[in-house]
Subunit: 254 residues, 2 copies
């Protein structure tokens, strides 16, 4: 988006370098190619190492570069479009769902989730952990919080934890008549357990999608999903039935 | 979300400190309160300055802390929920729209946008700049790209640029029959001009929302909106007509 400034604004040095580097990535490098080391790059562009590093960090944040220990800095492939908002609302675990249940436990939800569910702060709820895979890669980790009151039929089932229990909770939830759902997206940092599942370091930037499921006039479940911000572009909504050519779709809009 | 780890995972030191600090923010500090300086904080928690700084950066990324030059580090207010996905689709500039047109120019769109619009790389399009204000604060900056072919009636109108021109482009766009729209959200960094409008430094993390508007069986306009990632939580979708109590809604879900 650097070519469409309507008003010229003075730019810090690293920001100018980021723009120059971004253009160089487009013209001189292929996806997956390893960049020269920092010393060589700094010399090539006539800047200090600190300036170069700031520019590389920007491009990593924008998903243009990947830095991996033992490999170096490589040119990132375009971000994957991952459908988040569904045209037709459905329960988690319904057919067509791309999430895999991993585990289930009883746990105290975070205060914010307890607030949305209107449960007491010390009330344990069914906590289903799920993973979303795309092209064999984990792109998101989710915790789905379901209070006991939402799945009253569950107690009859034996397994206290694990995948079988997770499936049972999802099955019971699907008995309810889904009245609606809403979602929010915000920037967060990966918790240690999510980071491990997503093959990232704890604290890596993630997009946190919180979904509330409504039935019986109240919030019956809350899902908090953590998407890799470096590789994912979250997509919402329908195209109104219009067939659209996805020319250039792969490239990011920046 | 630190209390619901289903499996214990070893955590780096700064990540543990982030969790401890996060709890301290909840219990010992009020919104807007200035934190002790780094030297004192590092001593209080018995960690190196570098570790402390990493933990503070995490909390800033999560929107818990704000760092402002000349003020110091303060406890951030809860993020604002900003509605992005509309239940009823409508053209930009339609009644009820919270965006203010600022300017309009002819410009080459970025390659990704040209791809979505299916215009030639060197084709100039009407580029409307708009700003979104919430509680008197700018929360987002947008560039709306409209090819000449989408607004054939526009040439008759005199003003070559500026707010009047922006309004004219929006008015002409609204003559078309909106068939659908879709949206995507990804992490980006603020360009210099957007950063200035959003009162941030260039490169600050932002949430980039790209909206495609469909009419006449094709993409007739593309909007690229840049939201402050530190203060905004983007909300999507409807609540199915259900009245929901927003208990604890203000707190972040992490």
């Amino acid at each position: 988006m650097g070519t469409t400034q309507l008003e010229p604004v003075p730019e810090p040095k690293y920001w100018h370098l980021r723009t120059v580097l971004s253009e160089a990535l487009d013209s001189d490098f292929a996806v997956g190619e390893i960049l020269p080391n920092e010393r060589d790059l700094a010399a090539r562009f006539g800047v200090a190492r600190a300036t170069l590093r700031q520019a590389l960090e920007q491009l990593e944040l924008e998903g243009r570069l990947q830095r991996r220990r033992g490999v170096g800095t490589t040119v990132a492939p375009p971000r994957m479009g991952v459908a988040v908002g569904a045209e037709q609302h459905s329960w988690p675990g319904a057919s067509g769902d791309t999430w895999q249940p991993v585990d289930c436990a009883e746990a105290n939800p975070p205060a914010a989730v307890a607030g949305l569910l209107d449960t007491d702060a010390d009330e344990q709820v069914h906590t289903v952990r799920r993973t979303r895979m795309t092209h064999g890669q984990p792109v998101a980790a989710e915790l789905l919080y379901v209070p006991g009151g939402s799945v009253p039929g569950l107690t009859a089932i034996g397994a206290p934890a694990g995948t079988a229990r997770a499936r049972a909770v999802l099955r019971e939830l699907q008995r309810l008549d889904l009245e609606g759902q809403d979602q929010s997206v915000e920037l967060g940092s990966a918790r240690a357990d999510d980071a491990k599942e997503l093959d990232r370091l704890p604290g890596a930037p993630v997009l946190v999608v919180t979904t509330r499921y409504f039935a019986e006039g109240r919030t019956v479940a809350v899902a908090v999903a953590t998407y890799r911000a470096d590789t994912c572009r979250l997509t919402f909504g329908e195209s109104g039935g219009v067939q659209i050519t996805h020319a250039g779709e792969g490239r990011r809009a920046s």
